[in-house]
Amino acid sequence: MSRPRTTQEIEELLGAYALDAVDPDEREAVEEHLATCPRCRAELADHLAVAALLANTGSPAPAGVWSKIVDSLEEPPPALRLSISPAESAPAPRSDTVSASDDGGAVVALAGRSRSRRVVWLAVAAAAVIILGLGGMVLHQDRRLDQMQREVAAANGLEGVVVNAMADPANHTMTLTSPSGEDMSATAVMTTEGTGYLMTTSLPALPDDRTYQLWGMDGDKVISLGVLGTQPHLAAFPISEGLTGLAITDEVQGGVPASSNPALLVATA
């Protein structure tokens, strides 16, 4: 049988395609078509939802598999730990300057990682070559985050999520203000689910080769929470226990692992 060509031929295959019941050349043709046809993508999503219910056996997760999964997980880019330099030692005049910590950019694993891998990461981090590579890893991570944020925002309507989060009295809200008294601000709401949302309308647009970057303060540590782009409006970020403050800086495009720029906006819990 010849490869399906017309939209109608492709549409007829969508049910079988959803069940992986087509031949390889048909699969290829359907996938090419799906890339450009939202209507067929929607039909496919419907078929997959029905198939998922047919598969819903309610069996328990198999024992022993989780530990194998944990053992084979790709190592994450290390979270960056910096500290806020005291005013007297900071190169910039402002006391809220964010700068690299004295330990030369030591890295630790993200919360939730097993002890054994954390030890491995600390050992690896000792190699200068890894430290040189940090910028690239930060970029990789931020691309990943940006993509996810776009997708979730598209699916759920981030604005609606943020409005609901702000209305929930259980959530904690912080206001970020300019330490130098400039007329700009941002609001962050920390949900009990562990996601924070940042809203701002007053930050001026940056040139394309710059980005705003969000930092979280955990005691005397400063952790990059992600880049915000040239003109942030809404952003989601992870919050961890012990987050005591937030800061926003202006950095080169892609963000930096450690900032030596003054914080434009700051909030403390």
């Binding site: 049910g15 993508r41 598969a55 309610g58 880019p77 689910e193 992870p238």
Partner: protein, 192 residues
């Protein structure tokens, strides 16, 4: 993000956590969906060890490539099950597992011939799903079951049922559409 708050998080929030390399977010996704993924893989392969390998593959892939999950294209569970199904079917159709498939088919054939309906009814928890299946014509139901739970292509199903290929292809699609209408009407979660 602690483990307690994650149990209340939506799947979309879990995937954000996974994209941030939060292992406890992956653990929660595993807790929610690994049973279904394993059940489907085991049903298709009739081999618990291979099914466990698929579970592992599916969740490691979610960890490594969370951006492949597009919430606009459906729920996380649909996505994970589709990944599992595709992988299991690839294994079934590969030369190396030909023997496994023959053994599985021999087992199923001995038990129930080509009529898998009873098995579907046994393993399908939701009453509404059973009812939606019951409302299909027998031809539609068989075609869907042989393709999805048997791992056969529609051409193979057509040969097994001695029906024209085009007819089987249409029955699969029309059957899935009918089931969807039924399930939406009965308000089954995840259908909108």
């Amino acid at each position: 993000m602690d483990a307690n708050s994650l149990t209340d998080a939506s799947d979309a929030v879990l995937v954000i956590g996974i994209s941030r390399y939060q292992e406890n977010a992956l653990a929660e996704a595993y807790r929610r969906h690994a049973g279904a993924v394993f059940g489907l893989a085991r049903r298709l392969l009739a081999n618990p060890t291979m099914a466990e390998e698929i579970v592992q593959e599916v969740f490691v892939r979610l960890w490594n490539q969370p951006e492949k999950f597009d919430p606009e294209r459906g729920a996380l569970r649909s996505y994970l099950l589709a990944q599992c199904h595709g992988r299991a079917v690839d294994l079934l159709r590969s030369e190396t597992s030909r023997r496994a498939r023959e053994e599985r088919d021999a087992l199923h054939t001995a038990e129930a011939g080509y009529d898998l309906e009873r098995e579907v009814l046994d393993i399908t928890a939701a009453e509404q799903v059973k009812r939606a299946l019951d409302r299909l014509t027998e031809d539609e139901r068989k075609a869907i079951e042989l393709a999805y739970l048997g791992g056969h292509t529609y051409r193979e199903v057509a040969a097994m049922l001695r029906e024209p290929e085009g007819t089987v292809k249409s029955r699969i699609r029309s059957g899935l559409k009918k089931m969807r209408v039924d399930l939406v009407d009965s308000g089954v979660g995840g259908m909108s």
